[in-house]
């Protein structure tokens, strides 16, 4: 018997999680880059668009996810059969409801920030980073780690989510900085090196927090012939690809930004970053399915 969730539920989860994770890295990148002059307005347009799209997608998919939870918890026969009382009970009386409200508020704030035409001052940027962090971390509050009742597992889960959001979410703005009309060798070199340092820290956190999660979950969960195990394998392959690209960017392409072939290095790096981002989006899609898939050790 397949333990896979419906494609509809998997898509809603993936879109909510992805849209909630990505603004965090975007705002971190905005603060790291700290662009000035004409480039600042150009990059702010990109940052606004990225933030707005991510937050709106997460909000819309989140409503669908909430509906699915109401149906499941309240035992309604379908979306149309749900009553306002059931919606209210889920929002007021369950951990998922509280987490959903907190995330929605943070995403709403991000939409407001993205609606401002002028690039924000430092305070506004930090506000964006804070809202992005709340939106990302909220995902952990209804995770298996949270349900386990162990604070250290929840902390590891939050660290894992935060590191993933910082890494993935920073990529679009970084790619934009290397694009036509914006690329400036000195600034790009400075920012890519700063991003590289952040990326190394993110990988370290992912390894450590992933280790904590894995040891708590137990290797028995990896029943490779199960749907769950196959999904983890897919994720491993995708992650390996992403890490390989990141290493290639760090070792080969980033050092060339300061040299004579800066323009061609920037184009190559931009393409590689976009490929890295595409793999990251696929990983988020797999996470959407995994989050609703029963591990093989759990009895059906």
């Amino acid at each position: 018997m397949s333990a896979l969730p419906s494609p509809w539920l998997a898509a809603l989860r993936a879109l909510t999680v992805g849209g909630s994770l990505l603004p965090l890295g975007g705002w971190a990148m905005w603060l790291i880059a700290h662009p000035t002059g004409a480039v600042r307005a150009c990059l702010w347009r990109s940052q606004r668009r990225w933030t707005a799209v991510s937050a709106v997608v997460a909000l819309a998919a989140g409503v669908g996810w909430l509906g699915e939870i109401v149906v499941r918890l309240a035992g309604s026969s379908g979306i149309m059969a749900m009553t306002p009382t059931q919606w209210s009970a889920v929002l007021r009386e369950t951990t998922f409801g509280h987490e959903w409200l907190m995330r929605s508020l943070a995403l709403g704030l991000l939409v407001v920030l993205a609606s401002i035409r002028r690039p924000p001052a430092t305070t506004g940027s930090w506000l964006g980073l804070g809202a992005g962090a709340v939106a990302a971390v909220s995902v952990s509050l209804t995770s298996h780690a949270a349900a386990s009742g162990h604070g250290w597992r929840l902390a590891a889960d939050m660290a894992h989510i935060t590191a993933a959001g910082l890494w993935l979410g920073a990529l679009p703005l970084l790619a934009r900085m290397l694009g036509r009309g914006v690329f400036e060798p000195t600034a790009a070199d400075r920012v890519t090196r700063a991003f590289s340092r952040m990326g190394v820290a993110c990988v370290a956190v992912l390894v450590f927090s992933g280790g904590v999660n894995a040891s708590a979950l137990g290797l028995s969960a990896l029943w490779w012939r199960s749907d769950y195990g196959r999904l983890v394998l897919i994720k491993i392959v995708l992650f390996a690809g992403m890490l390989s690209l990141a290493l290639y960017n760090r070792r080969r392409l980033t050092p060339r930004l300061a040299g004579a072939e800066a323009e061609s290095a920037a184009r190559a790096l931009r393409r590689s970053i976009m490929a890295e981002l595409a793999l990251g989006v696929l990983i988020v899609a797999v996470v959407g399915v995994l989050g609703a898939t029963m591990p093989p050790h759990a009895p059906g």
Binding site: V17, A74, T94, T142, A156, L219, A221, L222, A292, M294
Partner: protein, 119 residues
């Protein structure tokens, strides 16, 4: 050995933070299938996950299908995985417990068992 190490490392990195499991009934008092001499005043259920009680249900019925619960299930103070259900005075007989648990990660599990009093 190297292959196993690599697999463990890969799993350590990649087991998703959002991996989900379910609230499984670990044990109960009265125990599953047990026979007790004294009628219990409450039923206690221990689960493998933290529970949300808003949509968690426990129904205890006698041999005639009549409910013998004396209130909604609630969590034991300070124990988010332990569910307590007050019972009406029980007479000797067999009792059927049907439960539906909702864990904090929104997964729903259900099951049933019986216990006997004075038999």
């Amino acid at each position: 050995m190297l292959g196993r190490t690599l697999i463990v490392f890969a799993v350590a990195v990649l087991v998703p933070a959002m991996a989900s499991a379910h609230a499984l009934l670990e044990h109960a008092v009265p125990a599953v299938g047990a026979s007790v001499s004294q009628p219990p005043k409450q039923l206690r259920l221990w689960y493998s996950e933290k529970l949300d009680t808003a949509f968690t249900r426990v129904r205890v019925t006698d041999a005639h299908g009549q409910s013998v619960t004396a209130g909604a299930p609630h969590l034991a103070a300070g124990h988010p995985k332990e569910l307590v259900v007050a019972l009406k005075p029980l007479s000797p007989g067999t009792y059927h417990v049907r439960w539906r648990a909702v864990s904090v990660d929104t997964h729903v599990t259900q099951g049933d068992f019986t216990f006997m009093v004075g038999q």
